[in-house]
Amino acid sequence: MSITLRVFLILCSMISFILCIRKVKQSKLKVTNSIIWIIGSFILLLTSIFSEAVEWLSQKLGFIAPVNFVFLILIGFLLIQVFIDNMRISTLSEKIKDLNHAIALKEYENEQKNKAKE
């Protein structure tokens, strides 16, 4: 890996780390959700520091360039994230639907009560 790429990766990892911590402090991100991003930024940092190990491993796995291996790790990481997010959205959607139903049923009940009073 070239020196420029390594510096770039270290910078990226630092920026994502700082951003993550700041957002948690501003309570715009939950602590449990932030952990995966912090792990991600550590992976970036490790790949740029121990680039020899990455080069060795990528050669063993048959990659033409070590940087391709780094990209593969990142893409895999992102895919997992997207999948987890999709699951979360589905659960949230179900919860909103249940709330929607609960509110409607409650309102209906109240209306019936009001009608009975009249």
Partner: protein, 232 residues
């Protein structure tokens, strides 16, 4: 038996009055209009006529509308719940046939079918219907001649099953799920008319998506439904 007609309505201000009057004049079952947060005057029309209406605060689609209707039917101890379109396509005079079918012939779900004795016409829509029928035949071995019919009656057992799984939709794939759960499904010949006003839930591009969803669901998800423990 205590019967509830569930009438989901989304932007049906022009049809809903006629539909509900059709139900009340032809039957003496209870009915419930589900107003799925319509943007037009559906709610006002219902209020003005003093219809029995449940109004959802957020628009969430047909599935959610039927599900809340089923919840209502379950909470109020109804024996039979029937889904009935609010757009004037279904005719209330056939409702009794569905209820009779459940009462007398010991089935769990009765479908108001257009093609029990009549032949299917040749059109693109019917091609979709045939395709879904074939998928149902392949996964359950049973023949449903009109799987896309939106006029279905569920007995208490089916209502309970319906609300116990929130992924169930009022669509053909649920029929496969119910059959896998050992429910008996029968079809009753009915007639349906064309919608007079307004737009259907199924628009051209949407119907392709619909077909894809239903067939995928039947073949890969509902087909591996586990039977309830203890058989019947």
């Amino acid at each position: 038996m205590k019967t509830l007609i569930i009438i989901p309505a989304y932007n049906e201000e022009l049809n809903i009055e006629k539909t509900v009057k059709d139900v009340t004049s032809n039957t003496n079952y209870d009915y419930l209009v589900i107003n799925d947060c319509s943007k037009d005057n559906t709610k006002e029309v219902c209020k003005k006529n003093n219809f029995n209406m449940l109004s959802l605060p957020i628009n969430y689609g047909l599935t959610s509308g039927i599900q809340v209707g089923m919840k209502y039917a379950y909470q109020n101890n109804y024996d039979i719940a029937i889904q009935f379109d609010g757009d004037g396509q279904h005719q209330a005079k056939y409702l009794k046939a569905l209820v009779d079918e459940i009462e007398n012939n010991n089935c769990d779900i009765a479908i108001g079918s257009r093609f029990v004795t009549e032949k299917k016409p040749h059109s693109l829509r019917m091609f979709g219907s045939i395709l879904i029928s074939m998928c149902i035949k392949a996964t359950t071995g049973k023949t449903i001649k009109d799987p896309t019919s939106g006029m279905r009656a569920y007995n208490k057992k089916a209502i309970k099953e319906f609300i116990s799984n929130s992924s169930l939709t009022p669509e053909p794939d649920t029929l496969v799920y119910m059959m896998k759960k050992n429910m008996k499904i029968k079809e009753v010949q009915v007639e349906m008319s064309q919608r007079e006003f307004g737009e259907s839930y199924l628009k051209p591009l949407k119907s392709i998506e619909y077909m894809f969803n239903i067939i995928f669901s039947i073949l890969f998800i509902r087909s591996i439904t586990k039977k309830n423990k203890g058989g019947k």
